[in-house]
Amino acid sequence: MIELLAPAGDLERLKIALLYGADAVYIGGVDYSLRANAKNFNLEDIKNACIYAHNLNKRVYVTVNIVPHNSDLDGLEEYLKNLDSVKVDGIIVSDVYIMKLWKKLNLQMELHVSTQASTLNYHTALFYKSLGAKRIVLAREASREDIKIIKDKTKLDLEAFIHGAMCTSFSGRCVMSNFATKRDSNRGGCSQVCRYSFSIDNNEDAFEMMPKDLNMVPYIEDMINIGINSFKVEGRMRSIYYIATVINVYRNIIDKIVNKTITKEYTKYCLDILNRCANRDSTPQFYNDLPSCDEQYYLGRNEISNQDFLALVLDYDAEKKIATIEERNYFKTGDVVEIMAFDKEAKEFIIPTLYDEDGNILEVARHPKQIIKMPCETPLKRDYIIRLKVFDIHDYL
């Protein structure tokens, strides 16, 4: 089984993730999840998410991965029962009490061990297997060799992060946020102190300890070969544009690997798309070696916000050949852009004459969220994305 697993901070992101190729999504409930500032899902939302995903034959996992304090224990049992009753496919857990509770309640949903548990060896994985775990989300520090041994010795489903932000610390083994800002990192309040800039030893030199993002594009095929089952993208608080782009890229890569049509040129194109989308550099981090200074960020980093996301397609009138789109960033008639589709490769497109909802011609689209109509011979679908054309795949072939 090869699964592309996407983050989803709310129902809109969930739908985009599934549409653009994720086989499963992971979401957080309003409580007990590690991204307290994501919008997150109440039980009704989770139920709807499961119905939506299951209709597409896809899966929903819910993070229950806080490290609970005494006051967090009340309500946990009922919460787990509720998740099970709305047909959540699995819960992602780091705490032993929640694992045992899952077992005691004899719930149908799967138990997945969170990356917060920092599983690096097969003895630890076997311990969790004895508690009923179906899947281990590996420590981000796990190397290729570590992963291979754990797979060989445990036969567990293994999930690994392939893209997105990294912690400086072992996940869960950091309370800098607690002490520096009084926000509990292991209950979803991490204030990302590791991304601050510091002085070092009382001089003015700036010290930083933040890692670059993770990007496993060059190693996906190898990861499939050594037994990774689920390929996880980080970022429940990311935008729909980010989610659509990243999931779309990895979907295409995985499919091309499976179909044996992947090429180095296509991989390079994908890397450029991903690096542009994230605004930050990304590297493979721990897979083949320990991170060096090249995997860290220091002052002067290139983190430029881009305005590539131009518009979202809301509707297409096939009879009149008119597309209705929602503006996100500035563009104008004559711009050469790209249509990013969830069911085919991105395609170049020249912005035609634009009209507002009253039929007035627009010189430019400059108001985010403005509804715009435009003639379009190429049939579009709802949730296609119009983006700035930065890379041309033909240049790579």
């Binding site: 307290a36 609970p68 060896n121 520090e141 950091c174 102190v193 930083e208 300890m209 860290q296």
Partner: protein, 262 residues
């Protein structure tokens, strides 16, 4: 009371000094398998000590490392082991040694600790809890537990070489131990690196003397790393400690920001 203290050792010659003030039980960080301690010790050094002693293994281990370590465990002559990686529990139990679980930052409630107590002999309570939370844990756990009362709080454990990478990037002379401060000056901490990664420690010594009155405590733990023995003795003698605070004993951490719905 002094026999309830569990004291980490920085130098072997300190043991006799501690014994003179009534301390009977010591912790030795195991060389190559521990991180964040001022000193670590070989098996031969640990075996040479005549006292109640526990071997600390607080690194997260790869499969190769843990397999290598399991072969060494029978040769370590101690009362028990203090471990971070739960992959070691079974192997240590087979040796009929005590196991104390010290998963940094993870033992934050009595229910989870009670589950772990089905597998191990005792558990270290996490060091970022309030006094009331710790008190309740001690009250509701089914076996006596271990609580930090003294030492720098470990704030972060990274597998990355944060100092090596920094000095290499800027082509500056390497230091393995530094103090960093944020620009506003409100956050200050120590960073210490060795061949296994980097840890950060609080700027102030945690002084948890208030916790000494708790019941159902197996040991009160003193992590003496990077602290002169004279200051440790001052704590043991009930004296005031400079550059110390009570950590988060009176400061509940929050995890949701009021008013935000996104």
């Amino acid at each position: 009371m002094k026999n309830k203290f569990l004291v980490s050792i920085n130098k072997l010659e300190d043991i006799d000094i501690y014994k003179k003030v009534g301390i009977t039980t010591f912790v030795f960080a195991l060389k190559n398998y521990s991180i964040g301690y001022e000193n670590s010790f070989s098996i031969e050094e640990i075996n040479s000590i005549d006292a109640n002693k526990y071997c600390l293994i607080n690194r997260l281990l790869t499969s190769k490392e843990i397999d290598d370590l399991i072969k060494l465990l029978p040769s370590i002559n101690v009362n028990g082991f203090i471990i971070e990686d739960i992959g070691l529990i079974d192997s240590i139990k087979k040796l009929n040694k005590e196991v104390y679980l010290f998963i940094n930052h993870f033992n934050c409630n009595y229910a989870s600790i009670n589950e772990w107590l089905n597998y191990v002999d005792s558990v270290f309570i996490s060091n970022e809890l309030t006094f009331d939370e710790i008190k309740d844990i001690a009250k509701y756990v089914k076996k006596p537990v271990i609580v930090h009362v003294f030492g720098y709080n470990q704030l972060m454990y990274s597998r990355r070489y944060l100092l090596t990478n920094y000095y290499k990037h800027y082509n500056l002379p390497y230091k393995n131990s530094v103090v960093i401060k944020d620009k506003a000056g409100s956050i200050k901490m120590h960073l210490i690196e060795d061949e296994h990664g980097t840890i950060s420690l609080s700027n102030k010594i945690f002084n948890g003397k208030r916790l000494l009155n708790l019941n159902n405590i197996l040991y009160f733990y003193l992590n003496t790393s990077y602290i002169p023995i004279t200051i440790v003795l001052d704590f043991l003698n009930g004296k005031d400690i400079e550059n110390s605070d009570e950590g988060l004993l009176d400061i509940p951490t929050i995890f949701k920001l009021g008013g935000h719905d996104d």
